[in-house]
């Protein structure tokens, strides 16, 4: 009997999960007992972290896109169609073209959507680097025309993709204006709804100290209520307001439209998901990974990557009848560029908060290297390298043994989830 695995969404999580499953289940696929199908909206795959470089360093987006089909294991069937409905009870995914895909296992990797329309005036009054390279490029154009005044970097909703990115934007703006020789004519202000410059306290110590050193002013507990593009003012629910000449804002995010339309998400469209097994709550055949989940960890490519491992293991274990259950340990690892070719890493798990950090050139190089390794990593061929770097991020729940690579279902070293 053919077991049909359908992966919805061709971002980092969806692409990697499909490739890992194809490797893990290669014999079953060869024998016609399993199929892996990836449902993706577009023909191209964009490396989203590049939008920072496009916006603040003038990088060309061209070098950061690849043909999706070329990234996939030959055993994965790529269906380039938009999913419009997911019926978890009937085990069917429907596409815009009317195709109905039934499944035995489902992986939801539909990501997050940034919605500049979510705050009154925000769309007309601000620029952003969270809605694709085309819009990131508008920031590059705007800062090149900028001759001086007030630049405000703001977070207009939480959670959002890539938590360090607004801080990075502020650091990169400082660096850009300094290089242009007009830093003394530019006031940079950072508005955040959080109690500090970065949500995690120990990371915030580093960021606040650096912000102070380079003259970036922070205003905390600023939950954006509206923007007036004519008066060039931004207002908070708490009653504060600031003038701006250029507003760069992270728009509010929500789950994908297909999640909302299918009624399988919470009020914001995030899919309620078990934070260890990555199973959609209440189902034993549907998983959710990456930005699409409601799990309180960073919405980032690294998280989607690590959760892909967990899901690939859980599905392949079930297909092979091994009945082992695996859990993700909440590991995050978000690099933050702090200017002057230095970076820090925000690393944590469900049980270990981020630790003290010292910005370094080595971490900056590591961040840039991860970017270069991205395309190879998506194919699933660098898992031993990542396993060495991250340590045990996926653990056998029953036997409490960590797994280092997806190529072995037998645990190697004892540990805890």
């Amino acid at each position: 009997m053919n077991r049909r695995i359908v992966v919805v969404g061709s971002g980092t999580g969806g692409t990697l999960t499909a490739n890992l499953l194809a490797k893990e289940l290669r014999r079953e696929i060869r024998d016609g007992r399993v199929s892996v199908e990836l449902l993706g909206e577009g023909p191209e795959h964009y490396f989203q972290p590049a939008s920072l470089d496009v916006a603040f360093k003038g990088a060309s987006p061209v070098g950061f896109s690849r043909d999706e089909e070329g990234l996939l294991d030959g055993r994965v069937k790529f269906i380039q169609e938009k999913a419009t409905m997911i019926n978890l009870n009937e085990r069917v995914v429907t596409t815009r073209d009317g195709r109905r895909l039934s499944y035995d296992y489902l992986v939801i990797a539909t990501g997050a959507e940034a919605n500049p329309d979510g705050v009154p005036g925000l769309k007309d009054g601000s620029l952003n680097f969270h809605t694709g390279p085309h819009n990131a490029k508008k920031i590059w154009e705007a800062i090149n025309w900028f001759k001086g005044g007030k630049v405000v970097v703001a977070i207009a909703g939480t959670p959002h993709k890539c938590p360090p990115s607004p801080n990075e934007a502020a650091f990169m703006l400082h660096e850009f204006f300094r290089k242009m020789g007009i830093r003394d004519r530019v006031e940079i202000k950072f508005l955040t709804p959080y109690p500090r410059a970065y949500p995690a306290e120990k990371v915030s110590h580093v960021v606040e100290s650096l912000f102070k050193r380079v003259g970036i002013e922070v205003s905390t507990f600023f939950n954006i209520e509206s923007v007036d593009p004519t008066k060039k003012k931004v207002y908070s629910l708490e009653g504060d307001e600031f003038d701006y000449d250029l507003l760069i804002a992270v728009p509010p995010h929500s789950g994908a439209k297909v999640i909302k339309d299918s009624g399988i998400g919470d009020a914001d469209g995030w899919v309620p998901t078990d934070k260890k097994t990555m199973l959609v709550n209440g189902y034993d055949d549907a998983f959710c990974i990456g930005d699409a989940t409601n799990i309180p960890v960073s919405k980032s490519g690294v998280v989607a990557h690590l959760q892909s491992n967990t899901v690939a293991l859980n599905i392949s274990s079930s297909v092979k009848g091994l009945n082992q259950s695996f859990g993700y340990n909440g590991r995050i690892n978000c690099p933050m560029e702090v200017g002057h070719r230095k970076a820090i890493f925000v690393s944590a798990t469900y049980t270990t908060p981020p630790s003290d950090q010292v910005p370094s050139f080595i971490k900056y190089i590591m961040k840039k290297s991860f970017g270069k390794m991205y395309w190879t990593a998506l194919r699933g061929s660098l898992e031993p390298v990542f396993a060495f770097y991250f340590g045990p991020t996926t653990t056998s729940i029953i036997e409490q043994h960590p797994i280092y690579t997806t190529s072995k279902l037998k645990p190697a070293i004892k540990g805890e989830v």
Partner: protein, 80 residues
């Protein structure tokens, strides 16, 4: 004018910025006079919510240590 509502926000098990973010979401949907009751296991919630209430000029009615979690009760008296 609508009748003031009381809303319980259960953020137990969630760590910073989870509880304060959940409170912000409720604050966004609230009206003047509403009572927001946040339950949190993250000890940072105490200082974060207190600092937020001071900054936003809202009123903390109660902070109590319950069995394994903190209960923070805020009355919304200021909102744009």
């Amino acid at each position: 004018m609508s009748t003031p509502q009381r809303k319980v926000i259960d953020s137990r098990g969630s760590f910073c910025p989870g509880p304060i973010t959940d409170l912000f979401k409720a604050y966004r949907a609230s009206n003047i006079g509403d009572i927001l009751e946040l339950w949190a296991t993250d000890p940072a919630a105490k200082s974060d919510v207190t600092a937020w209430a001071r900054k936003s000029r809202n009123e903390i009615l109660e902070i109590t240590d319950e069995n394994g979690y903190i209960r923070l009760v805020v009355k919304i008296i200021n909102k744009r």
